[in-house]
Symmetry: C2
Subunit: 147 residues, 2 copies
DNA sequence: TATTGTTATACTCTATAACTATA
DNA sequence: TATAGTTATAGAGTATAACAATA
C-alpha cells in the first residue's frame, strides 16, 4: 500500500470521482469545441444563447448566475451574440436592468445546431447503453443540483 | 415541443450528459481549488506531483500526455514544483530526456494532502450512496478511458 | 445606499510554433 | 533528420474591483 499509488497509476487521484470528472469533462469540452467551431460558436456562446432562447426576457445577471459565473462574464458574451444579430438587449420597466431576447435568427441558429449537439452527445455516450446514459445524467445532476 | 426547451430550463442543453458534466466539473474544480489554495497548490500542480510520485523517473513529455495536454505545458508546472523542492529533474542515459522524481519533501506533501483530498471527494459525493459513487466513478472512467 | 450592467485588470489554462541540445 | 525540453506568444475563461446609471 503505497501512499502515492502504484507505478503507472495516477497517484492520489486514481479512481476518484473528482479526477474522473475532470478527465471526462476535458474530452467533452474538446469534442464540443471542435463541433461548434465551424459554425462560429464556442460552448459558452451556445450556452448563453440557448438559455436566452429558453428564458425570454431573462436579465444578464440572472443569465450569468444560471451559467455559474459572475455578472461581468455576461457582457462580452452578449456583445458577440448581439453583433451577429442572434440576440437583443431591450430595456425593461426598471431601466437599470435589461431583458434579453433571442432574435428569429438566433432561434434559427439554435434549431440548426440541434442535430450537431445530438451528434456530440452521441459521441460522448456512445460507449454506454441507454440505461447507463440516463443513470449517468441523473447522477451528474445530483452532483450539481439546482441552478 | 419547443425547439429551445421550456421556460426556465436550459434549452438545447437540458438533460444532456455533456452539460451535466460541465456543471458537475465546475463545482468540483472550485471546491478543489479552495481546498488546495491554503497549501499553495492548484489542481494541475497537485496532479503533476501526484503523477510523478506514482511514476518515478517519468519524462516530462509522458507526464504531459498523462495529464492530457501538450509538452509545453509541463515546463512551468515542473519549474514551480522544483523551486519548492518537491521534485527533481535528473538527466537520464539519453541526455535529451529527463527523469522526474518526487523528493522526500514532495512525497511528504502528497501524504499531508491526502486527507484533504479525501474530504474533497467526500463533499463531492456526499449526496450519493457508496454504490452510487462507485457506479459514477466507473461510468466516468468509461467516458474517458485509457490515457 | 443598493442594484444593474459594464469596464478594467490580472491570472490561469491551453495550444501552437519556434528555438536548443542532443541523438 | 528526428526527438526532448523549453521558451515565446496568443487566446479564451475566470474572478475581483471599480465605475456610471438608476432606483
Amino acid at each position: 500500500m503505497n501512499d502515492v499509488g502504484g507505478p503507472g497509476g495516477h497517484g492520489l487521484l486514481a479512481g476518484t470521482v473528482s479526477y474522473g470528472l475532470k478527465r471526462a469533462y476535458r474530452r467533452v469540452i474538446r469534442d464540443l469545441e471542435e463541433a461548434l467551431r465551424p459554425h462560429g460558436f464556442t460552448p459558452p456562446l451556445l450556452a448563453a444563447l440557448s438559455l436566452v432562447g429558453a428564458n425570454p426576457g431573462i436579465a444578464p445577471a440572472h443569465l450569468a448566475e444560471a451559467m455559474g459565473h459572475g455578472r461581468s462574464r455576461a457582457a462580452p458574451l452578449l456583445d458577440r451574440l448581439e453583433e451577429r444579430g442572434l440576440l437583443e438587449r431591450r430595456t425593461g420597466a426598471d431601466r437599470r436592468s435589461l431583458e434579453l431576447h433571442a432574435t428569429p435568427a438566433g432561434l434559427d441558429a439554435l434549431g440548426r445546431l440541434r442535430p450537431l449537439l445530438d451528434a456530440h452527445e452521441g459521441r460522448i455516450t456512445g460507449g454506454l447503453s441507454a440505461a447507463e446514459t440516463q443513470a449517468l445524467a441523473r447522477l451528474l445532476d445530483r452532483l450539481a443540483p439546482g441552478q
